[in-house]
Symmetry: C2
Subunit: 595 residues, 2 copies
C-alpha cells in the first residue's frame, strides 16, 4: 500500500524564505498566522492526511460509492467518520470569514494544505473542497439571508456544497443549457432539469447538501447572457434553521468512472425544486466566473498533489528494488544487485517529477498569496495587480499542472515495472485519479484558449506585460556568477515566450485559428517559464540559507534540482515556439470529411 | 460503445505503393501473396476484427478473467468461441511454415493484421499473439521431436503458448532468476519455481497450454549465463499425440490489473513439472533473445493499434458533438453549435495522433518486410543488412510506439470531455489497456538502453551508419521543390540525431552515465527521424498516385498530414538533443539519501 509524508518542511521554506510571508502582515488574517501557528497547522494537517486519509485511499477506490434504490448514496467505509473528524477540526473554514464561523486565516494556508489532503486521498478531499468553493460563491454573491441560512453550516462542515453546471448536451458551451427556473410569488424559483457529472451530488457525509445550480429563467435571453445562479438545498431549511422537507432534487444515478471512485459523481434530477437566486438574474455565469480562479487553482493542485505522492512512492520503490548493476560499477556489491535508483534513466525520471513538484508548489504558494492580496488588500492598485496575476496564471496552473501531474503519475508508475500495473501496489490508482483533473473545471484545451484568447489581450495586455517585466527585472537583478546557471536559460526561455506572444499579436487577429492552433503550446511554454522563475527564486533563497548555516544537503539539493530543470526541462520552450510559429496551416487544412 | 474500422486501404497503399512489395517476390511465400490474396486476407481479418472482436472488447474489460478454487481460469463470455473461430480460420499459422500446418505467407501480413486484431480487442489478441511467439521460439530452437509434438497443434490453435520469464524478485535482471531444473535420466528435466505476470498462463480457450520457461539447471553458472529454456506442457502429451495426465504446473492466482482484463495474467507455480530443454543448456537467454525482435515489434504494434482505434472514435465524437462556434465564424449556423472538430486545438490533437499512426503503420510494414528478408532471403549479405535494421529499429518501435500510443489514447480520451472519463464510452479502457505496453516485454527505459548501449556500438556502429546513409541518400535523391517541405525538416532532424550519436561516442565511454541519462531522449529522437523518413516516402508515393489519377482527397490528405508531422512534431528533436548534451551531471549529482 502506498505511503505519504506531507512536505511540511518545504511549504515552510517557501513561505518563510522564498516568499517571505511576513511582508504580507498588513493583510487581514495574516498577523494571526504567525510562524508558530503556521507550523502547528501544517503539522496537524500533515498528521490527518498521513494517518486518517492515506489509509482510506485504496479502500475508497475498491469500494466506490453506491446508489441505493431509494436514491441514497453511500460513500466508502470510513469516509463519513473521517469527514466528521475533518469538519470538527475546523479545516473547512480555515480561511473563511469569522462572521460565518471561519478562522479567517490566509487562503494561502488552505491552498497549501489542500495539496496534502489530495495527495493522501483525492476522492475524499473533493467533498470539503467543493464545499469551500460553494461557500466562496455564496460569500461573494449571496444575499445576507442566504449567507445567514447556509454559510455557518457549510463552514462547519455540517452541510456540504456542490456545483451544478454540466448537462448531457452541454459542458464547455454553457450557453446551450436547458435547466429552467420559474419565478414564484414569494421570490423563490422552481428549478427543473438534469445536471450531470455532479461531484458529491449525493452522499452520506452531511445532513444537507447545498447545490449551486445554473439555470435559465423563463423568458431569459438565449446563450450565456440568460443564465442565472441558484441555491437549491437538498433538504429545505426552516426559518429557525432546522431541517424541513426534502426538496425536489434527487440523484438519478452515479457514474462508472475511470478513477476517483470514492467520490460520488451524480446525475442530479431537479423536478420543480425550490431555489433562490444568487446575485442578479441572468448574471449567473459572471458569478460563477469569479469563483473560477480559486476552483481552477484547486484542480491544478490536484495535479501537483498526485505527482507528489506518486513521486514519493516511486522513490521508495526504486531505493528498495534490486535489479541490475550501475553502469559505472556495482554500488551495492554486498547485495545480489543494486537498487534501481542507481540507473541514470530511473534517476532522470525521478528528477523530472521532483523538479516539477518543488517549483509547482512554489507557484501555488505565490499565486495563493497574490490571491489573498487580491481579496484582502485595502489598496485598489495592489488588488488590481494581484488580480491580473491570478487571472493570468490560473489557466496555466490548471492546464499545465494537470497535464504534467498526470504524466508524472505515469512516469512514477513506470518505475515499478510490471508491479506498477497491478492494483495492489496503488500506483495505477494515482494515474486513474489524476486523469480527471485534465478534464473537469474546464478541459485543458479551454484553459489554453482562456489564456491566449482572453487573458493575454485583456486590458491591452496589461497582465502579461507586468509579468514579463517582473521576470525580466528579476533576471537583471540576480545575474551574479552563482545565479548564471538559472538566469541564463530562463532569459532564453522568456525570450521564446515573448516571441510567441508577439507572434500571436501579429497573426492571431488576422486569423484567430493561428492563436487557437498554438494555444496549448503557449500554455505549456508559459508554464515552463513561470516554473523556471520559481526555480530562480528558490535557488536564491536556498543560497541565502546555505550562507546562513542552513543544512548543506537539503539546500544543495534545491540548487541541483533547479539546475536539472534549467538543463533538461526548460529547453522544451524552443519546440513550443517552433510549433506556434508554424501557424494554423497544416492543422486546419484538411476538410472535415477527410477525417 | 466504441467502433472500429480496420485501415485496409492504408495497408494496401503501404505495401503496393510505398514499399512496392512485388520487389520481394523472390522470397519464399511472397509469390503466393499476390495482390488479390493480400486483399482477401486483409478484408477477412478486418471483418473478423470489426464484427467479432470489437463487440467483445468491453465485455472482456467488465467481466475479466476468473480463477476458480480448483485452479481453472475462465475467460470472458464469448472469448472461447471467438478463439475457436480465429483458429479455425487458420490465422495463427498465417506465416508459419507449411510443414507445421501453416500457410507460409509473409510475416509482414501477420504483423499488419495484428494491428487490426489489437485495435479491436487487445486482451483477446494477446492469446494468439503469444502462441505465435512461443511457436517461433520452438521453430528456431526446438529439437525435431519437440517441433513435431507441439507445433502443429499450436499453429492450428488447438493448443496455446506462453512465455515464462519474470519471477517476483526479478524482471529486467533475469540473471537473478531462481526457478530450478533438475536433469532426469530420460533426458527430461523437473522444473520447480514461481513465475509471475504470465499472460494467458491459464485459460479455457485451448485443450493444452505450452509454457516456455526460463530456469536454472542445478550446477549452472550464476547470472545470465546459467539460464536454460524449457518447454513445459500443462497437460502431458502421450507418444501418439493424445493428451495424458496433468503436469506439475498450475495457476496460483490471477492479478488485478489496471487494464487488459480480458487476458488472464497468472502467477504460475511449477512443482516438479516435467520439461524439455529447448536449444542448448545455459543458452536459454540467447534463445529467448532471438525471439525478442518479433515480440517487441508485436508490443510496439499494440501502441499503434490502440492509438488508431482511439483516434477513430475521437474523430467520430468530435464530428458529432456540438459545442461552441468556430473561431472564424459559425460553420453549422443551422445548428445550436458547431461540431467541435472545427476548433483548432481539437484539430491539432487529431492531426497529432493521425500523423503518428500513418507513419507508424508504415514503419511496421517496412520493418516487417525487413524481418521477412532477414529470415527468408538466400543472400547472406541481405540477411545481415536486414537483421541489422530490425535489431536497430525494434527497440525504437517498442519504446516510442508504446509511449506515444499511450499518450495518444489519453489525447483521444480528452476529446470526449467528461464523457471520456466514464467507462461506458470506452475511451478510458483504451488508456488503461495501452498502459501495459510501455512496461512489458522490456520496460521502455530498457529499450532505450538496448538501443544506445547495445545496438549503436554493435559491429562498430554498422547498423546505425547504414541507416543514416540510407536516409541521407533518400534526402539527396528527393529534393525537388515539391518534396522540400518534407526533406528540409527531415535533414535538420537527421543532423540532430547524428550529433547526438557522435556525442554519445565521445562522452558515453568516459562516463557511461552520460549515455544512460540521454538514452530515452535518444530513442524518441530516433523515433521522430525514422517516422519522418516514413513520411517522406509516403509523401513521394502519394505524389506518384496523384500524378497517376489517384483520388485527390485521399492522397492530398497524406501530403498535408506529412507536412503537419514535419512542422509540428519533428521540431522536438532539438529539445531531445539539448537534453542529451546536458549529460549526466544534474541527473546523477544528488546522493541517494537526498531522495
Amino acid at each position: 500500500m502506498p505511503g505519504y509524508k506531507a512536505p511540511v518542511e518545504d511549504v515552510t521554506f517557501l513561505l518563510n524564505d522564498v516568499f517571505q510571508i511576513d511582508r504580507y502582515a498588513n493583510l487581514p488574517g495574516f498577523s494571526d498566522a504567525t510562524a508558530d501557528v503556521r507550523e502547528a497547522i501544517f503539522s496537524e494537517a500533515a498528521k490527518f492526511s498521513e494517518e486518517v486519509l492515506t489509509p482510506l485511499n485504496r479502500v475508497g477506490d475498491l469500494e466506490g460509492c453506491q446508489r441505493h434504490d431509494d436514491g441514497r448514496v453511500t460513500t466508502p467505509k470510513g469516509f463519513a467518520e473521517a469527514f466528521g473528524q475533518f469538519a470538527e477540526g475546523g479545516w473547512i473554514g480555515l480561511s473563511a470569514p469569522a462572521e460565518f464561523g471561519g478562522q479567517g486565516l490566509p487562503y494561502t494556508l488552505t491552498a497549501l494544505i489542500n495539496e496534502f489532503l489530495i495527495s493522501a486521498n483525492m476522492a475524499f478531499a473533493m467533498y470539503p473542497g467543493l464545499t469551500q468553493g460553494a461557500a466562496s460563491a455564496l460569500i461573494a454573491h449571496g444575499s445576507q439571508a442566504l449567507k445567514t441560512t447556509y454559510l455557518p453550516k457549510m463552514v462547519a462542515g455540517e452541510w456540504s456544497g456542490t456545483m451544478n453546471l454540466t448537462e448531457p448536451h452541454c459542458g464547455t458551451d454553457l450557453g446551450l443549457l436547458r435547466t429552467r427556473a420559474v419565478r414564484q410569488a414569494d421570490g423563490s424559483y422552481r428549478i427543473t432539469g438534469t445536471k450531470i457529472f455532479i461531484s458529491g451530488g449525493e452522499q452520506d457525509l452531511t445532513a444537507n447538501i447545498i447545490h449551486l445550480v445554473l439555470a435559465r429563467i423563463e423568458g431569459a435571453p438565449a446563450g450565456v447572457r440568460g443564465i442565472s445562479l441558484f441555491v437549491v438545498p437538498k433538504v429545505m431549511v426552516n426559518a429557525d434553521g432546522s431541517l424541513g422537507a426534502r426538496n425536489g432534487v434527487a440523484c438519478g444515478s452515479i457514474e462508472h468512472k475511470m478513477g476517483i471512485h470514492g467520490n460520488s459523481t451524480c446525475v442530479m434530477n431537479y423536478d420543480n425544486a425550490v431555489g433562490w437566486l444568487v446575485g442578479e438574474e441572468h448574471k449567473g455565469l459572471a458569478a460563477m466566473f469569479t469563483m473560477m480562479n480559486e476552483a481552477r487553482l484547486g484542480v491544478g493542485i490536484q495535479g501537483l498533489a498526485l505527482s507528489e505522492v506518486a513521486y514519493q512512492n516511486a522513490v521508495s520503490y526504486t531505493r528498495d528494488r534490486l535489479q541490475g548493476r550501475a553502469l559505472t560499477g556495482a554500488k551495492a556489491p554486498d547485495k545480489a544487485a543494486d537498487p534501481i535508483i542507481v540507473h541514470p534513466d530511473v534517476r532522470r525520471t525521478l528528477m523530472t517529477i521532483r523538479a516539477f513538484n518543488e517549483a509547482g508548489r512554489a507557484l501555488v504558494a505565490w499565486t495563493a498569496l497574490r490571491s489573498d492580496v487580491a481579496h484582502r488588500s485595502d489598496d485598489a492598485a495592489e488588488r488590481e495587480a494581484a488580480d491580473d496575476h491570478t487571472g493570468l496564471v490560473t489557466p496555466v496552473i490548471k492546464g499545465v499542472f494537470t497535464d504534467v501531474g498526470f504524466a508524472n503519475t505515469v512516469m512514477a508508475q513506470q518505475m515499478y515495472g510490471g508491479h506498477g500495473y497491478i492494483a495492489e501496489w496503488g500506483m495505477e490508482q494515482f494515474v486513474r485519479d489524476a486523469r480527471i483533473a485534465m478534464i473537469y473545471e474546464g478541459a485543458n484545451g479551454i484553459q489554453a484558449l482562456d489564456l491566449v484568447g482572453r487573458k493575454l489581450p485583456m486590458n491591452g495586455g496589461r497582465a502579461v506585460k507586468t509579468f514579463f517585466a517582473e521576470v525580466a527585472g528579476y533576471l537583471a537583478e540576480n545575474n551574479d556568477a552563482a545565479m548564471k546557471p538559472y538566469v541564463v536559460p530562463l532569459a532564453a526561455a522568456l525570450g521564446h515566450l515573448q516571441q510567441a506572444t508577439v507572434w500571436f499579436a501579429k497573426n492571431g487577429v488576422a486569423n484567430p485559428d493561428n492563436a487557437g492552433a498554438g494555444a496549448t503550446d503557449y500554455m505549456h511554454m508559459f508554464g515552463l517559464v513561470v516554473l523556471g522563475y520559481m526555480w530562480a527564486r528558490i535557488a536564491n533563497a536556498a543560497r541565502a540559507r546555505l550562507a546562513n548555516g542552513g543544512e548543506p544537503a537539503r539546500f544543495n539539493a534545491k540548487l541541483v534540482t533547479g539546475r536539472f530543470f534549467m538543463e533538461r526541462m526548460l529547453p522544451e520552450t524552443a519546440a513550443h515556439l517552433a510549433r506556434i510559429q508554424a501557424g494554423a496551416g497544416s492543422v486546419m487544412e484538411l476538410p472535415v470529411e477527410a477525417f
